[in-house]
């Protein structure tokens, strides 16, 4: 088989990298995962910076274009392959798309900041032997609870965030939530909320996400 034209650069454990991987798997788009040795600062070297000027993972290539920012990459993949794999990830008409965009922005602006801080403080800081900031953890847990209260309400009348179907808006939540539920003592933030718990259980057991988790644990 010829080398797939799609390349993703970065480790699967990175939340942003895993966001792109799950999207490619949901869409059945073959790809090549190219390792980036972050311990050796490979992501700050000139060759990598050419692809991602902020020196972060992931970087992404498809044919002759190079992209970065995981949510931009996901939108691109979903729009380029609307009929492959899971349909409707980014909607089939402008009205549905607008609703998906709204919840994808909510993830990006409201869910991501506190959940990222908690993921870093509770999962990565110990691994990197860095001291945890208790005040920061408390502050961000409170912020996340407020967001999850909104989700609890929404998911009481909607199976998924944007409507009846699984979309990019739900997908975008997978990486941080996986860490918080499986690798920290904060799982009950999600599981104690009936609708959020139900939603998490549905989206996290999708085959594409299970495959990504396998890649992370490899």
């Amino acid at each position: 088989m010829a080398t797939p034209p799609v390349k993703v650069y970065g480790p699967p454990l990175s939340t942003a990298v895993s966001r792109v991987l799950v999207c490619l798997l949901e869409k059945d788009v073959p790809f090549q995962l190219v390792p980036v040795n972050m311990a050796k600062m490979e992501h700050k070297k000139p060759d990598y910076i050419k692809m991602q000027p902020f020196g972060q993972v992931p970087a992404f290539q498809d044919d002759d274009i190079t992209l970065f920012e995981s949510r931009a990459i996901c939108r691109y993949i979903a729009e380029k392959y609307p009929n492959k794999g899971t349909a409707g990830l980014f909607g089939t008409n402008p009205l549905v798309k607008a609703s998906i965009d709204q919840w994808l922005e909510a993830e990006s602006q409201s869910f991501n900041p506190p959940s990222s801080v908690l993921t870093f403080q509770l999962v990565f800081a110990p691994l990197m032997k860095l001291k945890q900031d208790e005040a920061l953890i408390k502050q961000n847990e409170a912020k996340l609870e407020k967001v999850l209260d909104v989700y609890e309400n929404r998911l009481g009348s909607s199976r998924y965030l944007a409507g009846d179907e699984f979309t990019l808006a739900d997908l975008s939540h997978l990486p941080n939530t996986q860490f918080l539920v499986e690798k920290t003592d904060k799982a009950e933030l999600f599981t104690s909320r009936k609708n959020v718990g139900r939603w998490w259980s549905e989206i996290s057991t999708r085959p594409a996400w299970k495959k990504v988790v396998e890649m992370q644990n490899a």
């Binding site: 000027p53 902020f54 002759d64 274009i65 992209l67 970065f68 920012e69 949510r71 931009a72 939108r75 691109y76 729009e79 380029k80 402008p94 009205l95 798309k97 607008a98 609703s99 965009d101 709204q102 994808l104 922005e105 909510a106 990006s108 602006q109 409201s110 967001v147 909104v150 309400n153 929404r154």
Partner: protein
């Protein structure tokens, strides 16, 4: 009127949506939300934006929140009105999409915090936190260094023409340019030229003076 925007002109997110409506030359009704009276936390408003934030938007039966979802909707739903804010070539639009995320994930994070410290706090009679200003200026400078490099090869962030990727910056720029943070932009020639160019667009000038 079919299009309604609910918000306040003191909010950068509301101004982001206003900028887009102005560029598209669309008629709409602006409904002021009285935030000092906590109107944004009222049950009626929460039914429009469950996070209790401005803006909220409607176009006929469609109701939306999140300013960047509103602008994307307008740009795609009204392609033939006013300025074209997206690119129809999918590969070129993918690049625009990257820089839309850069504003959202990198510029806004530090830019908004600086706007809060240097712009809003004095307005509300609160004390600016100098340490926060220093920290966020350093981080914004790192982002602006990448912008300087990008804008030396590309007229606008997303490519050859003005798009949502540039427009989304306007509200925070407006606040920062009224403060000492303006010097961070002035120090970078391509960034400075770009910021001057986009802020002088007639639609933006109209959106903030109307």
């Amino acid at each position: 009127m079919a299009i309604k925007l609910y918000g306040t002109t003191a909010s950068t997110a509301t101004l982001r949506a206003k900028a887009c409506l102005a560029e598209k030359g669309l008629d709409y009704e602006f409904v002021n939300v009285n935030m000092s009276n906590k109107e944004h936390k009222s049950p009626e408003f929460l039914s429009r934006n469950p996070f209790g934030q401005v803006p909220a938007f409607e176009d006929g039966d469609l109701k939306l929140f999140e300013s960047r979802a509103i602008t994307q909707y307008l740009a795609h739903a009204y392609p033939d009105n006013g300025t074209n804010l997206i690119i129809h070539d999918p590969k070129k639009m993918a690049i625009v999409g990257v820089w839309i995320e850069v504003e959202s994930q990198k510029f806004d994070q530090f830019g908004s915090k600086l706007a809060w410290e240097l712009g809003y706090k004095p307005m509300f009679g609160l004390t600016t936190d100098d340490a926060a200003v220093e920290e966020n200026e350093k981080k914004l400078e790192q982002v602006l260094d990448v912008y300087e490099s990008r804008l030396s090869e590309s007229k606008y962030l997303g490519g050859d023409c003005f798009t949502l990727a540039d427009l989304h910056h306007l509200p925070v720029l407006k606040f920062l340019f009224g403060t000492k943070a303006k010097r961070l932009f002035d120090a970078r020639p391509h960034v400075s030229a770009w910021a001057a160019d986009i802020q002088s667009r007639p639609a933006w000038v109209k959106a903030i003076t109307a």
